[in-house]
Amino acid sequence: MTNAIEIRAVTRRFGRVKALDEVSFTVPVGSICGLLGRNGAGKTTVMSIISGQDRPTSGRVEVLGATPFEHAATLSKISYVRDNQRYPDDYRLHHVLRIAPEFAPNWSTDVASELVDGFQIPAKTPIKKFSRGQLSAVAIVLGLASRAPVTLFDEPYLGLDVSARALFYSVLLRDLATVPRTVLLSTHLIEESESLFDRVVIVDRGRVVVEEERDDARELALSLSGVADVVDRVAAGRAVLQSTRVGGLKSVIVRGPGDSDILNAAALHGVQVAPASLQDLVMAYGTHDEPATTTKEGVRA
């Protein structure tokens, strides 16, 4: 399968801070890939570079076989709405909907109106007065109605309620069946989104720590929990990614699949064992004793 997105050894420095450090990963054509990681891990920086809005300090990015930066033919095939996208002060929804098709050759008016109705986006309120959820809704309209061969969603559901998120999932999957495209989506709502993905990339402090088919990511780590000293005994010999202790109980995430040795040991000692979920993995890789060197974005809704 050919790749829609190829990132090779990309480093991006902002002054002394390395936001991305030798990042490499690929997204095959037609994939829905999750880009996961904590705040400040580098997700938005990667997306800016893929969309040609920023350039790597070193390394190489190819989107559909070409470097996107200042390459109009490639840029017209990419849709990217930043999570903090700003609009001119006097803009209302209809201004955005009139201009967007100029930049999106495959624009679908039907998809746009279905989403505008479904999200109940106000027509008369200036966009600068929109709530966080309404801004997210506008970004989703632009992202999906563009029908761009490579579509990037950066935290698409900030402030969106559960019904609005359900609408997003349904229209995304339904419209992808009509017009196939490649999607890279970053989110903190991992449990809710993971069934959408066929592939996941986890970044932590500017580095790629996991790049896997979604179903294979289950083999990366195990979660063990039970009485503390017994859990330690079963986990012995495995790299511990994260450990939590409450009173005499302990749960740990250890690297590696559930082979018969560890499954038998767990059964023998009454330790609960399960494949680590994607959420477990993101937490495990995002846990550090020392503070992160990259700037934090802070906690957002």
Binding site: A177, S195, D198
Partner: protein, 123 residues
């Protein structure tokens, strides 16, 4: 609808099998398309495809080129036979183990089953 404990494609495959056994999809009738499953269960289309392919490999579904996926003749019978084979390991053995833990002997257990069967019929 689908949990994260078991790979999603396996859960979907099991769901389709249950639907075939229940008669929702009769022999030689079409099952929903991969994309319909993806939208309905909100899962990746490739994951839905994996479930359908698994059932094709097992002879439960077959592909009519350009038309879609269909239930193989005799699929429901085949699935029922497989379930009967697994009944002992999946239901009887765990029940006997739990009964032993609780001190319920085989004859008490048999009497309980008889009583339950009668009251189940009344409902």
């Amino acid at each position: 609808m689908l949990s994260n404990d078991i790979p999603i494609f396996q859960q979907l495959a099991a769901q389709i099998k249950d639907d075939i056994v229940a008669g929702t999809y009769a022999d030689e009738t079409a099952v929903p398309s991969t994309n319909e499953y993806a939208v309905f269960y909100r899962i990746n289309p490739a994951t839905a495809g994996k479930a359908v392919n698994l059932l094709v490999e097992q002879g439960i579904l077959y592909k009519k080129r350009g038309v879609g996926m269909f239930v193989s003749p005799g699929a429901a019978e085949l699935l029922l036979a497989q379930r009967r084979d697994r009944f002992t390991t999946e239901f009887l053995t765990p029940m006997l183990r739990e009964a032993q833990t609780l001190g319920i002997g085989p004859s008490d257990l048999a009497a309980m089953i008889d009583r339950e069967a009668v009251s189940d019929e009344r409902h």
